[in-house]
Assembly symmetry: C2
Homo-oligomer: 203 residues x 2
Amino acid sequence: MGRRSGRRPGDSGTREAIRAAAVRLFAEQGYDRTSMRAVAAAAAVDPKLVAHYFGSKQQLFVSVVELPFDPAVVVPAIFAGAREEIGERLASAVVGVLEDPEGRRRLTGLIRAAASEPEAARMVRELVGREVFARIAEALGVEDADVRASLVGSQVVGLAMARYIVRVEPLASLPPEAVVAAIAPNLQRYLVEPLPPALRADR
Amino acid sequence: MGRRSGRRPGDSGTREAIRAAAVRLFAEQGYDRTSMRAVAAAAAVDPKLVAHYFGSKQQLFVSVVELPFDPAVVVPAIFAGAREEIGERLASAVVGVLEDPEGRRRLTGLIRAAASEPEAARMVRELVGREVFARIAEALGVEDADVRASLVGSQVVGLAMARYIVRVEPLASLPPEAVVAAIAPNLQRYLVEPLPPALRADR
């Protein structure tokens, strides 16, 4: 045990310190470049404690990766109002998360991790599929709901990449309400407008 | 000089071998994880030759990063025909590049690099801004053309992420022509349909 770094196993703060360090490093550096040793150093704990509390690096990632919003609350709220404004409400929710520093850090961290490495991509895909897309598809309640949810996902991840990660201008400098107005009709189409025959044919 | 690895400086193939190795490693591993040493090893040359021909890692990246299409040819072709089908032609061009293995490798490599590290993001932003967005904006020839080009960019990079990098289902398994049909109207709106007042107000 010892008292290395001033923290002992069993300290109620140790697990949380490791978790916080892992969240930060995965977000800043991506999955692949974040080592268990670096997480331990950032949390000021013995590297063995990271494995003790979280197991493998993959298990650590799965444990600490969290969406910066609660999809069980947000998705029903988006679908609760007038159907012709679903795109607007979804766009507002997405931009709201990404304009908040903590929300942006988490969401762009997920995207960076998914872009960096197939194993992280698989974990992010499963998390988002289960927590977000499945709820959107259920709320839509139509036969092609899963295609619609994944098309929405393509625009949302693209907005996060273009405006917040790569910072393409002038998109990066638009006021948030302009971004909402720009993407809302496109999300509206993906969610509720008729899709072309090519998408319905084989489903 | 010596004959290490069977290649000498001045070999006409040396520069090309380094270039090919760098293209492959940047695409597979991203900017940050690709070292000059690894490029040299993959090209079977002395590491000093990489610096000799290309300078710094950043200079190597800028030298070898190429778009998997010629925007000077592709952009005018997209804008040459009927205006109501620009979205369709752009969607076909994008999906065509991404369905081709070499095109996909290059484009997703650019995106992975941009996601991995701010310095690579800056280089990709400059390349795409200069080579693609500026041409689209010029072809559009309207006042808000630069906003439109960057919104198109958000959907295109999001499609590449969702379908080809993270492989979100069912988007990842749709036939290419269904993907074109799905995104074409959204690209059409970004390119030529009226944008909301919030986007015009401050421009």
